[in-house]
Amino acid sequence: MKRLLGVALGILTAIGGFVDIGDLVTNAVVGSRFGLSLAWVVGVGVVGICLFANMSGRVAAVSGRATFEVIRERLGPRAGLANLSASFFINLMTVTAEIGGVALALQLASSVHYLLWIPVAAAAVWLVIWRVKFKIMENVTGLLGLTLIVFAVALFLLKPDWMVLAGQAFSPSVPGEETVSAYWYYAIALFGAAMTPYEVFFFSSGAVEEGWSIKDLVQSRINVLVGFPLGGFLSIAIAACAAVVLLPAGIEVTSLSQVVLPVAEGAGKVGLAFVLVGLVAATFGAALETTLSSGYTLAQFFGWSWGKFRRPAQAARFHLAMIICLLVGIAVLATGVDPILVTEYSVVFSAIALPLTYLPILIVANDPQYMHEHVNGRVVNALAMVYLVIILCASLAAIPLMILTGAGS
């Protein structure tokens, strides 16, 4: 049981990263437009995030340094600030979207308009950050988020033609009515979503919050190897549900209410109940993850005292920064902007910030001053270099593709 609860950090990180509001919708959009022909991207993304999250967790466990401290140390103040600006902007967009996402999920459960839920959602996020222990926070949201497995259950109950799905997934091609640039735009969006930098910020800072040390290296690895593949599995299940039910009906996903329709069709009201709990937990977890990440990145860049393990008064600037982020998020949402649109953009922007985040992690994971004998092995380094090249290509292609496709429309 202890081992089982020990993976909560990995599960919360992955659920917040893979099935937050933006991914829920992006995955369903992709499923409803491209079937499973982009599933391979999720696979590539899962391997990549496992690789780098494990590295950042190892650096945190061995040296006690969280990722953004390392970024500033290695890149210096200028490139560090560039990364901070990009990451913080993405975080803020995502915080905004997730609070909107919690509200949208609550609207689905209650039919009360989501704008009314926004203050409630934001206040709840703040209260948890202000008062709840890190351990309790990750266990509760992680476990409740697991109910999203109902997407996989519903897929089985829908009795799809598995051969067709497998065919789409394993010999991918661009569907006839879609353009090649739209296909690659969504490929980058999915890759960016899988590897969003806030996941490593949160994971490594969480490792420091939990006081991991060298003896927790195995724990770190289990967290990564359970959490992220699970997140990837869930996102493929969501895409598959959309591909089976929505694609044939000619429905292109634009809202959260469409995402749950396949579950209702497959698993009825019980399934719907599970999926609603899961949606609220996952978006709430993602809201916590991104709000905390905003605080972590700022505090670690400027060297402020941070962490939920301290009293708020002992990490005053860290808490103030998060309060301001939440207020900004509420203000943005109050203008009536579509929360889903916000995350769709943030996912693509995150592809741009990726190289400046993962390069310093890789360098420090090879530095014996920090890592002693726990430096990277040859295989990990070779794989990581391959991923750096992929990341670089994705980040260079992101903006041109976004303009070319009109953001995928």
């Binding site: 006690g64 222990k133 009293r311 008064a313 005053a316």
Partner: protein
């Protein structure tokens, strides 16, 4: 190439490269509470208008700088000397992956923003002064 040059005469103490070991490192106080990051270093002055007489003593680090020094290091320019926020080098107790101070951050100039935010805002919100959970 670098490697073919002869090594410098051995020094009697630990070697620290400013960019590698000091700049942008996290500074922790005696209780391991983060205080700031090293934004820059202040050295004893060298006359910028005259040649250094042979045999003059080498400059030493007087203090770690923070606050406005970060802005000027990134964007250029130079803050007036009295506006620099300093942590005296004599407060430093150890330089490793982090820089440790031998004093509490509570009384350092570098901690005033933290203290202000804490006393004026965070400690006034209910629960701000209690342990989490």
């Amino acid at each position: 190439m670098t490697l073919n040059r002869k090594p410098p005469p051995p020094a009697a103490g630990r070697i620290l490269d400013a960019q590698l070991h000091l700049m942008d490192r996290q500074v922790l106080d005696v209780d391991a509470v983060p205080v700031t990051t090293v934004d820059d270093l202040e050295l004893t002055d060298v006359d910028p208008n005259a040649e250094i007489p042979p045999g003059s003593p080498a400059p030493v680090i007087i203090s770690l700088l923070t606050g406005p020094a970060l802005g000027t290091r990134i964007f250029g320019g130079r803050p007036p000397s009295r506006r620099l926020v300093r942590i005296p080098w004599t407060d430093v107790s150890d330089v490793s992956v982090v820089i440790r101070l031998g004093v509490s951050g509570e009384h350092l100039d570098a901690g005033w923003v933290q203290r202000w935010v804490r006393d004026k805002i965070i400690a006034r919100i209910p629960g701000g002064d209690h342990d989490p959970g």
